[in-house]
Subunit: 189 residues, 2 copies
Amino acid sequence: MELLKDRILKDGKIIGDGIVKVDSFLNHQLDIELFNEIGREFKERFNNVKISKILTVESSGIAIACIAAQYFNVPVVFAKKHDALNIDLDTFHSEVYSYTKQKSYNIRVSKKYITPEDSILIIDDFLANGKAASGLVDIVQQAGAAVAGVGIVIEKGFQKGREVLLQNGIRIESLAIIESIEEGTITFS
Amino acid sequence: MELLKDRILKDGKIIGDGIVKVDSFLNHQLDIELFNEIGREFKERFNNVKISKILTVESSGIAIACIAAQYFNVPVVFAKKHDALNIDLDTFHSEVYSYTKQKSYNIRVSKKYITPEDSILIIDDFLANGKAASGLVDIVQQAGAAVAGVGIVIEKGFQKGREVLLQNGIRIESLAIIESIEEGTITFS
């Protein structure tokens, strides 16, 4: 998706080898017009697929999932990462290891909101090692629902997330795949 | 907003005096069609007001803020509640006390994303004691920006959030104001 790649090159801040910060438009300040283009693109790529719900994980996936959901006319469910008193006790959960936080945490979805009849599109802002996406796939499979695919805004092609998902037979559509971030330069695949 | 009140009566689960759970449509599973009606209603109520950005706080405010932003044609900024390595060090922050978690936490917004020229609409899903909304107001004021108003989906009218905000001269628009939740019955103002 050229518009997105151009935006990453223009406004992304490289803060080290392999790390680009996109908080000016994707995950702190949110450019809703761009999100609409992203939603439209996901719809185009998954146009021929049955999708009954979009699943994401808090927090930065929520915004993208909600705007995209308008193009699919389906509800969004977001997995909870953090303890909350108001979540159901009866949840699907999956342990996810975070490399940035160097620890594991549980993501949880109430059993009421994914059923065996569902065909779920998983959406997230980043794919790197694939831990979060795999946790979401695990939850969908626990529910006996189908994974229609995984839609990613920015994939770090130099990490192993895609490989992990493909091994599980999951279709992945990434709108921008970064091949490398080296010496201050971002290269797309 | 009648559509919203009807939905709260239909799908809200009363789980104790003063507490209603709306996670089937508002803060775990998200009914994006309803969110569009909510966004339209916020636009109608703040139609005559200059708004340059919408500010909310993660996680459940993000979805509502993003859908509403489409009616205002402005970006969204969400305050971060949780530690993240990728946030700027240079932030506005405000301490917020959570009654449900019985502890204080900091909410933070990078100084890059609110400037003195901004006129900010604050949006959140719930108003109860007003701690989160007051923290967001504090951040906007630290930035020297104007608070255009606070838009709330569900206000607990029996708690003191409105009073706190009005004392600071803040305009509040709540789409459903619950006067009481007692003996299994929700009464709106």
